[in-house]
Every structure is written in C-alpha cells, then in structure tokens.
Amino acid sequence: MTAPRPSRARRVLLGLALSLLHREPSRAQRFDEEQVKAAYVYNFAKFAEWPATAFTAANDPIRMCVLNDQPFQSQLMRTIKDKRIGDRVVLAVSIQNPEQARHCHLLFINSTHNVEVIRLFASLQGSSVLTVGETASFVDRGGIISFVTQEGQVHFQVNHKAATESGIRLSSRLLSVARRVIE
C-alpha cells in the first residue's frame, strides 16, 4: 500500500471550498455516493470489534450515529434495515451535537463539520467510538476511518493507531483493503 499524494489544497479557503463542490463528476453506473458510503459504514461495523465495556448486554444494539446529516442518516437506515451483526441489531441514530456522541459505537461526521472535528475528538477521549469522516485529513487529525473519493470511486483510509487507542479492534481484512493505514 502506498501513501496517496498529499492533498493539494494550497490555502484553507480553497481547502474548504474543495470539499464543497459545485460541479462534481457524475459517473456512469447509477450509484449515489451516499449509498456506497452507507454500505461501507455498515461494513466497517462488521469488521470492528468493540471492547466489552462498550455494551451493557450481549444483545445490545450497535448504535451507528450520524452527526447533523438527515439525508445520510436516512440512507444509512435504508442500508441497515433488518440487518444484524452477530447477535446485535444495528441502529442508525441521528444526533445534533457532539455531546450525544459518547453513547455511539460508530459516528459518521460529514465534511461540513471539518472545523469542529478537533473539539469533537477531544470530547470522545476515553470512549470507544469508531469515527468515520469524509476527507483525507480526517485520519491525520485523529479520526479512525475516512473516505477518499478518487476518479469517482470511494475508498477509505484507516488510522489504526487511533483505533487501538480507542480500544477498537479492526480486522486485518479491513486494514488490507484500506488505501492508507496509519500505524
């Protein structure tokens, strides 16, 4: 696995603008980026193992939270409908502020929250929340998994170190598919 080229955004203004595109590629096959990301999120949960302390009972649900993003939460809900991981039911939960995140097992943070992620990570210290972001820098800043879209395909990067520090074990299979792994 090779390191991807560093982000080319020269200035923060553009850096911010970049993730906020006007006209972006549309691709041949008819899959919405959100659908694919939601499917990934479900997969991440399948390949992650939380510490026992993250659950109170063996059949406690896995709470997958989405911060301030109604469309994605709805998409995730459709994706995981009737799904189970092991004995656990999977829930897609919408949360409005980072304080609610401590009760999540997985937290999806879209790119519009980039400014807040540092504060967010600080508030998650000591809890086992698998954070999933949308920009390459998300993992550099301490997030666990972030999506990267290249040539209209969605891939992901993993900060293995951050996962381990949160007490979350990621399967080697997940790590082997990742475009970049920070150890």
């Binding site: 560093p6 603008a17 970049l18 006209r23 096959q29 919405d32 469309p71 519009t112 598919v177």
Partner: protein
Amino acid sequence: MKLSFLSLLRFLTTAISIFIAGVSFGQQPAPDLSEASLEELGSIQVYSASKRLQSVGDAPASVTVISADEIQKHAYRTLADILRTLSSFYVTYDRIYSSLGVRGFARPGDFNTRILLLVDGHRLNDNIYDEAMLGTELPIDLDLIQRIEIVRGPVSSLYGSNALFAVINIMTKGTEIVNGLDLSTEIASFSTYKMKASYGRELKRINLLISGSFYRSRGQSQIFYSEFDAPETNNGIASHVDNDQLGTAFGVISSHDFTLEALYGTREKGIPTAAYATVFNNPGTRATDSHGYADLRYEHTFRGSFDVSARAFYDRYNYQGTYMYSSQTDPGETNPNLDFADGRWWGAELQLTASVLGNDRVTLGGEYRNNLLQNQTNYDLRPRSLLLDDERQSFVAALWMQDEIAVNSSVALNLGLRYDYYSAVDSSAAPRAALIWKPRHRTALKTIYGEAFRVPNVYEKYYSIPPNVANPSLRPERTRSAEFAWEQGISDSFWISVSAFHNSLKDLITQQSSSSGSFIFENLQRVQSTGIEFEVRGQRSNGLESSGSYSLQDSEDRDSGRALSNSPRQIAKLTLCQPLLRKALFASLDAQYRGRVTTFAGASVSPFAVVNVALLNRNLGKHLDISGGVYNLFDAKYSDPPSTAVSLQSIKQDGRSFQLKVAWKSGVR
C-alpha cells in the same frame, strides 16, 4: 448569416425546455449494496451526491469545480473552452491569445492580468506581462488535469496581486490515477493533430508521473478580412498564417510529504490579423511563449490538526515575437522586428493552519518572490537597430492571515487580510470577509466583501517601442467588491442559486492613446459594475445532469459615463450530459450565448449563440476511450471584439469544426 434575435429566442426556449425536462425532483429507489464486499464497494463508480450540491452553500465564495470526467465527456480542447461554459464568464480570442472576461469586465489587450492562474497552487502568471494563459498557450495538457477550481470575486486577501476577478487553480492528476502507460492521439479540423504519452508508477515509497504532448494545427487555411480587401494585400485573404503548435512536458515525483513537480510548455502561433500594424498575410509574423518551472513542496498535518505547507520554486518565462514590417527604405522588402521578454524568478512560501479557539481554523502565511530577471528587448533586423533593452529586478514579500470561524451550527464567518510589500511599486493590503448563514436545511445565504489589487507590471511600466511610451510612475489599481448570494435546494437533486454583485474599480491601469498617436498605460479609469446571476443545477435519476445560468450586468466607465466596452450585458449558458449505455456511452452538450458587445473603438459586435456537442465511449475493450466533438454545431458566424493590437473591427471566429480522440491506457480502472 447572422443569428437573429428570434432564432436566439427559439434556441433559448428549446434549451430551457430540454433543461427542465432533464431535471427530476424524484429520488431513485436504492439498490441493496449492503451485501457488497469491501473490494466491490471500492470498484463502484459513484455519481456526485446531493450533499455535494448542498454543500455549495458552505463555500465562503462562489466556487465552481470542473472535473477530469467533465473535461473528457464534453471533449473540451483548451482551458478557454472550459471557462466559456461557466456562468458570467466570456472568452474572446484574437488568434494569438484567449482572453477571459468575468462579470462584465475584460479590458482589450490586458493579457488576463486580473485573473490569477495556478497549477497545484503554483502561480502561473508570468513576471513581465502577468499573463494568465488560457488557450493552447497554456503550458499543461488538459489530460493531466484532475480538476479545476474556479473562485469568482476578489481573493487578493490570500493570493495578492492579480486575484481581482477570479482565481483558477488547476489540480493535476496523481500517480494513483495515471498508473502505467497512457497514450492518446487526436485529429481535428484545420489539419490539427495531437499526441500525448504519460507514464505513472507507484514504487514502494515514491510515486512518479511523467508526461509529454505535442500539438500542431495548420489553422484556418484562408481567413477573409474585409478591412484588407485590396489587391496589394491578397484581397483580404490571410492564407496559411493561422498555424499553432504546442509542446508540453510534465513530471512529478512524490514521497511521503514531499512533492517535486516540473513543467515546461512552449507554444508558437502564427498571427493572421496583421497585429501591431504588421504586413498583412505574412507567415513570418508570429509569437512564441515558453514557460517552465520546478516546484518543491512539503505538506504535513500534525496530529492535533496543525497543518504545515511549504514550497520553494523557480520559474522561467520567455517570449519571442517576430513582427514583419515593410521596410522604410524599400517598400518591397520586409523589415523583421524582434520582440523579446525574459523573465526568471524564484520564491518560497510557508503556511501554517491550526485551531485557536476550538471552533475556528486560523491560517498564517508568508511568501517571498524574487524576480531575478524582468527583461524586455526589442530590435529591428534590417537595418539592425536596438529599440529597447530594459533590464529590471524586483522582489515582493507578503504576509497573510485568515480565520474561519464556525460561530454556531448555522453561521460561519471567514475573515482574511494580506499585506504585500513590493520593492518596485507601492505596497498594498487587501481585506476580505464572508458571512455564511444556513437558516434551514438546503438554504444558504452568503454575504461577501472583498478588496483586491493589481500592481503594474514591467511591460506596462517600461515597454517603450514607438508608439508606446513608458510610464514608470504607475500605481497599483484597486477593486472593491460586494456580493450577496442565495443558494436554495428544492430537492436534493435540484438547486437554484441567485447572486447579486457590485464591483468598483479605481486607478485602473489602462492603455490610453494620445492625439499624437502614442500609447501609454495610465491609472485613469474608474469602472463600476452591478449585476445579477441565476443558476440552476439538477440531476435526474436516469443520470442526466444539467446546469443552466443567466447573468445580467451593467458596467459603466465612470469618467465618460458610458457603458464599458468589451462588456456584454447578457450571458446565458447551458450544459447537459446524458449517459446512454450504462458505464460506457455519454452524450454531452454545451451552449453559450453572449449579448452585444461594444469594442473599445466604438464598433458593435453582434450577439451569438454557439452549441457544441460531444460523444464519449469509455472503456471499449477495457483499455480504450474514444470521443468525438462537434464545435459550433450550427456553424454560427460570430466574431469577438478585438484587442488594441489589431486594426480590425472584430475578429472572426471558427465555424463548425470536429475532433476525434482515441485514448489507450495500459491499466484498467
């Protein structure tokens, strides 16, 4: 045939009805992807999602992004082709360079000095003319572009001089995209062909990409200019003098956080317009522009969100113009005049970004550019006599800061300030502020205020070949701009935006002609523009993507009280792209309408509408892409306003033309 107003109306009505038919408010049923494996998910092609359309609202400026995908589907040939499809942009071509007008503002013969062009963040405007090269003169091949980000409005608060009307940042492809060997060839009308080869490789710790291209066009074999319709000037026919050729080379090598990038392009253009009062229809009159650079940058994000980026670069720009004049001693002979510019500069910059208050991102940056050479030379060959030998050196040092503050979940504030110290001209400061308010889901309101400046360049100050007169006391020109924008999503797949702007320029550096027939650049003009832009963007569940825009503006030369020249009141654009066969075939259309323009000499250039179409067949036999384009499909006869360099009323543009391109890649995506 001139395009009548009725036929324009018909065109617009048809275009709008196609557009409206193309937009659907519904959402498609979601196929089940949840059982797909990680590898399968990674191989799925996605289309831009509604969130992308939504998040336009978050940008602290009016931003447009054009992707490699769009460039390929629309079979765009040059950056100028791409820019002319954007809301409120218009491009004119004088058969030497392409010039860009934005929001009603384009000065004849100003070499795009008020547009800043960047390649991967590296400034491409040269240090003699400040020119942003947009046509075939752009020293980078379009196939190497991953995406282009265009920011409208003044951004001098980040970039300093030249960022008055737009910043165009070209992002090149990385080795993750060009992996293995890519070859392509094109043939097109006017005996045009192009070849390109790229090779990308990811080694263990090092990524490498090299690429080279060659383009050659014989151009229009015959162009008729009624202004020269006399037996001694070939009855007004410029014959085989419109040729154009370009060679480019590009290389990038990256390892960890370091990237070394080098680029070189050289382009030679025959000049069919008898520019600068040269002999008409002489193939010796031509201009060559070459630009190359090496740029080393370092980018790293330290944990805790501390971003550091640094860069050091060396640039060289050369221009050589050969202009054929009739000899004063013997009218039957020609006297070539040679015009040279030699620019060399190096520089370095550093930028740090971190969060200070917790809910903000603060950026501090500094830049130093040293113009080692800014030389202009001019001499006649027969008899040999030196007319200009101007050698200059200068430097600029700048500091800037910016703070992006998320005040609460619905309000964001963006503040920026930059100060530039110039050794050779007055120093300048430029502030900028943007407030973004998202009162509801899918609604964004933005208010932006910015000031920008442009310092005079050495060409404007010191070029003194008669009839030009030098003016070393030129000062920077300044603009103030205010914009209010409203973005509204009707559904996740249909968005409307409206923006109103007001620009006011003073001390505009303008070429003036005196009664004695001489030309001089002076800080004279004051210009004021007010306008409004409407844009709709939509995506239908069958894949049809569409966008349309209309802009209306009014620019006034405040000294004369008259409407500004080179400034169309109305501009309309339409782009459509429809996938025809899943994953393989795409049909695209782009259409542009430009209203009437008055030239600087007071003549009127008629409105026109041009429609271009393209077809792309992707992944034929896994390795091959074939595309074809028909430009100016309806063969509209139209002209662009001239620059001050030519004595023509207007400059006739190409009729219908074709292009066919075959691209082969060794890797399969």
